[in-house]
Symmetry: C3
Subunit: 431 residues, 3 copies
């Protein structure tokens, strides 16, 4: 739930020390809203300024702003946070305004934004506005285009938004560590004309990954390859909300990747087009039909489709290990293959194979084993037809005939527990 | 070689127990053909139904079907199999109808298919029809859209084929394990009009990978990154058949990736276009010229070119480790570099480097060392000019003037041992 | 600095033994120029033959040639080299003509090239001309299309250049080892008409990677995944020269990837289009806007943009570990997160975490620790505003109003130490 706080007044100010923003200006800083919930918040409809169609941040929220002398003003606070990865597991991350990733920033093409960044981390930081065309001094590369922001200080970024599109923000200071700790957020610039690129549902999320030892809470920041938590907006299945849309809606899903590897994001039930990247909108004649969008690191992709087929459609990374929660990748869980009727009998060459998993691992999805505290099961989830046997980057796009347009403001609308199915199986069991 | 069996009759049926298909319907099940050979089988020309141009499955085969009351019926049997990875090495995998990958399913846009799936694995399974637009209940996601199919049971999928294209099938139940064991297959939907997207040669294969310890036969299913067998249709060089085409042929090669990383598939001697994905056909004006197609995980790509240049053209994954067979990736086989004539002499900093490999590793390609049983050499193969020094995802596209069109049915036509060259080297050795 | 040598005369010849080039022809071999410097050399303007706009090889150079009886003749020498990765670190690599990568080869569409390749390595080699359409016998695949070139021998490749484009060369013999040792080079074929695809600045480089143990000099050639030196043209930050362009210039940057993973190359301050690949030029209507180009392995990409925004724009791989120099990926440098004001206090679950890095790692970028000899610091570099905290695949595109066109021949023009900023920060510090 979103709350308000005055982080820069009274005793708190003395404790933080003088900021880079002049003392006299502090009273005038915009509020730094904070968020304590990990659930998808309803879209933030614009109260003032020009109209636009707000986005839905998956398991996230949009940062409020104020208009002041022609500038749209935001206030980000970089700080340690506790993020619930999924029910039953929390992580010590670094983020913005109470969560990791930080809140989505939404503004409009042609607006001028002023973004105050207060550093409450134990080390210096900066923010780079990935994809946005701006003056070099606003680019946020520590040491190169600005001094890093020391702990306790507030820094101001100001730039005009020259084009609409899909962007993100993240530090460019001690970058490997701060990204590994979860510091990033989405930045959407809406078209000046709300009719351009209009869709009915517009979802956004960032793909990230962590290496948190089972039983522990803090990421190992030096890991380069062997991550064990594959997350969307710092959430893993069954913690990722479903994406609910009305049958017939035009749907856009915008994604950015800040991990160390490509993620091929696969949607069941539909083919779609990539309509935009962090470089701009893709011309229709240049678009390819896909059922999987390969999301490169440091890149963003918007996919679009018309939700004409009702049902519960799996939506996940297609790397099979990325739909698993923590597991030992080196454990020799060998399968003792039974070769009755397939030809000659083969001597078992492995002398000491584990009995667990000798017939596959589905039994682990069904009968969950005891785990260290604060640890997600390797595969889990219950659907209407049994164990889902999933983890990590997995959720469901729910296409329903029964939803009305215009109910964006109802938070409950987005709270669909995973694994509930409205569109029933139509095959025959014939048993 | 393809054989027939009655897997669901008499005593066998009792052993399997009652299936999800009603007992009374068992007599009416289509035959579940099985395949014992790992060689490329001739394309299966349609005996009935509408005409189409069949594909060639690299080191694989197409599943026969029957027409019944307007439905095209297939029967897949999920089961443990022994797959020859290359001469000298067999693996205990899980697959369909005797092989891994399973047989290619071919059908025609507009047809209705009914696919019986019998589970002879030791654990439950499902089949997801990747890329095909179908009713949600037919989507094959265990727990979400259907109950998993228990061992011994037969399940029925029924759906219409609404568009032509390039698809695949694989389990969506204990998915990481079942994919790591080799469970997948190709699914081609031909255009209603055989003149559309017509080519002369149409090859298909899936890219997969295994981690099988040298001397062992069964994959380690928990491996996430450090695979040691990089395969096309569960075959590694020198076990991958060559792709033989007539000079002047229009050639299409369709590939799907079910590993954990992108595979950049490189063809020598030609540039080509990507003409299709698992999402549909790519419009000509949107196509890019390439000599390497980066095949993302959970994605499919069709490449097309006109085979006007005769010769033996290498065709392989461009990740250099993926054209190697099993090796120790951590072995410090250091090269003692000789710096005569390059400047100052540099003290050797490594005190104890191995003599083996001090001058590179080509000697290992030429003089193959003794290996554990059932293990492929790290690099191998003999060509007309000497050692090929390859493994893994490597084969040759052979473009010959002498081949006649229309000899699709001759199995021998596809049995070209790798490494034979017809188009002779035209340079001068000048020795 | 480029020097000349007669590698194939007098006593040297006897030592090398008889070559594949006839003894009588040796006197007629073109000179094999060699390069001792790792700095970017000025472009090599054509002295004879047709005119074209030469490229700038980042931290590299272009191989001189001679025209002879209608052939453009080059001479490559494959040999061990000592390459400076960055000031303070040298590596024992294998390369061509004194450096790794080898020199860029530039020629013109329609020309016929004759390339002499002398092998001074301790093992056999070949050269494959990646992307170039040529007769099969010239394709350079050892064992398949030619015999490997033994140590001490010279081999001749001859082929016409049928189309303009962006290509590379590398061995196809003991390929994994020779690529891991740094053997590759760029090959640009300019359009016949210099006005076609014309730009003002045309940069080229190859993306490669090494695994060199800190304190050591020679790559571990068996490494498949866990590389520790992420380089462009065998240089790591701060050893990579900046790319200097005049404001308003049309700029092309051509890249090729010969590592084991995709590299998402990100440019700040601009969006751009991919205008070409190793398969050819991409039609404008098929191009996508991007700020990051995902460069697949065994693939090449040309990006183009107009440098209208002055400044120092970061240009780097977006995988955060690829902008780091060697580090321990398994070191549990844990961050002790301070949760004042974020909710309940959480017991530290890790009993013995390192004090170093408890508040992030920025202190390591600022106060560089003592290192083994011949080892680059994990993150380093000083910019005008403080520590850059970078390594690996990082440099800066400098866009300046003050540069004149036509000063290609001034070598000093390219020698811009990284981290100097001309375009000053325009924000307000407000302190």
């Amino acid at each position: 739930m979103q709350t308000r706080r005055q982080i820069l007044g009274g005793a708190g100010l003395a404790a933080l020390g003088a900021t880079m923003v002049a003392r006299s200006a502090l009273a005038n800083l915009p509020e730094a809203a904070t968020q304590s919930a990990a659930a998808t918040q309803p879209p933030l409809a614009p109260r003032d300024g020009r109209a636009y169609n707000p986005v839905v941040t998956l398991n996230g929220w949009t940062l409020p702003w104020r208009m002041r002398e022609g500038w749209k003003e935001f206030h980000l606070v970089a700080e340690p946070v506790v993020r619930e990865i999924a029910p039953g597991m929390k992580a010590n991350l670094w983020g913005y305004n109470g969560q990791s990733p930080g809140p989505t920033i939404e503004a409009i093409e042609g607006e001028r934004v002023r973004i105050f960044v207060t550093n409450r981390l134990p080390e210096h930081t900066t923010i780079h506005w990935h994809g946005i065309l701006l003056p070099c001094g606003m680019d946020g590369v520590g040491g190169l285009t600005q001094p890093q922001i020391p702990p306790g200080k507030t820094y101001v970024y100001e730039f005009p938004l020259t084009k609409s599109g899909t962007f993100m923000y993240h530090p460019h200071a001690d970058e490997m560590v701060q990204m590994a700790m979860g510091m990033h957020g989405f930045f959407v610039v809406h078209p000046r004309d709300p009719a351009r690129h209009r869709v009915d549902r517009d979802f956004v999320f960032l793909v990230n990954a962590f290496d948190i030892e089972p039983g522990s809470m803090t990421p190992r920041v030096n890991t380069m390859l062997d991550f064990n938590l594959w997350t969307w907006n710092s959430r893993a299945f069954p913690g990722i909300d479903s994406l609910a849309v009305r049958q017939g809606d035009r749907v856009r899903i915008r994604m950015g990747n800040l991990t160390m590897t490509n993620h091929p994001i696969h949607l069941h039930g539909y083919d779609f087009r990539v309509s935009g990247t962090d470089g701009g909108w893709v011309a229709p004649q240049a678009q390819w039909p896909e059922v999987t969008v390969d999301l490169p690191v440091g890149s963003m992709r918007c996919i679009e489709f018309t939700a004409d087929a009702p049902g519960d459609w799996a939506f996940h990374c297609h790397k099979s290990h990325h739909t698993m929660n923590p597991m030992g990748h080196a454990v020799p869980t060998l399968i003792g293959v039974d070769h009755k009727g397939v030809g000659e009998r083969i001597a078992r060459l492995i002398p000491d194979y584990m009995v667990m998993g000798e017939r596959g691992m589905a039994e682990m999805g069904e009968m969950e084993m005891e785990l260290p505290p604060n640890t997600l099961p390797m595969m889990t989830g219950q659907g209407p037809f049994g164990a889902l046997e999933m983890g990590g980057m997995f959720t469901v796009v729910k296409v329903r005939a029964g939803l009305a347009r215009g109910d964006y403001r109802d938070p409950g609308w987005y709270a669909h527990p995973p694994g509930t199915v409205a569109y029933e199986w139509k095959g025959e069991s014939r048993s």
